[in-house]
């Protein structure tokens, strides 16, 4: 069964360091999402891609966060420099259709701890 792959599963870093997360969506899914989920809260959308283009990055803290999906397939989310408040689960999801309301398939997430 096709799944969304994410790596690493866990990352521990010190504040001010750079971190990067990778996501490989389900093959053929044009829409890719990055979410941040703080413990005890629901996922919060950071950025949405349609193919290689950013559709929505209004909630992405652009001073330290960046995301790319150069070939419209896999994607990388980077944080530089990491801050203590960035500790969270970072989830990637993909969807076969553009727009909201369509089923999103989530990966297992990357648990980030910033010390």
């Amino acid at each position: 069964e096709a799944e969304v792959a994410q790596s690493p599963r866990y990352k521990i870093t010190e504040k001010s360091q750079a971190v990067a997360f990778w996501c490989d969506p389900i093959s053929g899914h044009a829409t890719l999402y990055w979410y941040r989920q703080i413990l005890g809260q629901g996922p919060e959308l950071l950025v949405q891609f349609q193919d290689e283009s950013v559709v929505d990055d209004s909630q992405l803290p652009k001073d330290r966060f960046s995301a790319e999906r150069l070939k419209g397939v896999d994607s990388t989310l980077k944080i530089q420099p990491a801050e203590l408040g960035d500790s969270a689960m970072y989830l990637c999801a993909s969807s076969p259709a553009p727009g909201q309301g369509y089923e999103q398939f989530f990966g297992p997430g990357t648990r980030l701890t910033v010390l």
């Binding site: 629901g42 919060e44 909201q100 309301g101 089923e103 990966g107």
Partner: protein
């Protein structure tokens, strides 16, 4: 900004009991989704509801979308330990917003 409020925040019950969790908003959604998330994993979609008043059943789970498409409920009949998890609702309009979830624990 659409705000989805889920209640209760935590729920602990015995196996075999029935329960209902709620998802409320002041905004109208074109569709609403329910997900279940287990610790250390990503959310898994349970159902999508799109029509006001719609009721969908998935085995022991019954989902209802409010007539005004602002709220939804999830009812579980005869809960089992395998139902334990975080239940998230997500409303879609111009974008998708998740609630904070209801953390359900079903004790054997």
């Amino acid at each position: 900004t659409q705000l989805l409020e889920q209640s209760p925040q935590f729920l602990s019950i015995q196996e075999g009991e029935n329960l209902t969790v709620y998802c409320n908003s002041s905004s109208v959604f074109s569709s609403l989704q329910w997900y279940r998330q287990e610790p250390g994993e990503g959310p898994v979609l349970l159902v999508t509801v799109v029509t006001g008043g719609e009721v969908k059943k998935l085995k022991r789970l019954t989902f209802q979308f409010g007539d005004a498409r602002k709220d939804s409920s999830l009812h579980i009949t005869a809960a089992q330990p395998g139902d334990t998890g975080l239940y998230l609702c997500a409303g879609a309009d111009n974008d998708m917003r998740f609630g904070a979830g209801t953390r359900l624990t079903v004790k054997p």
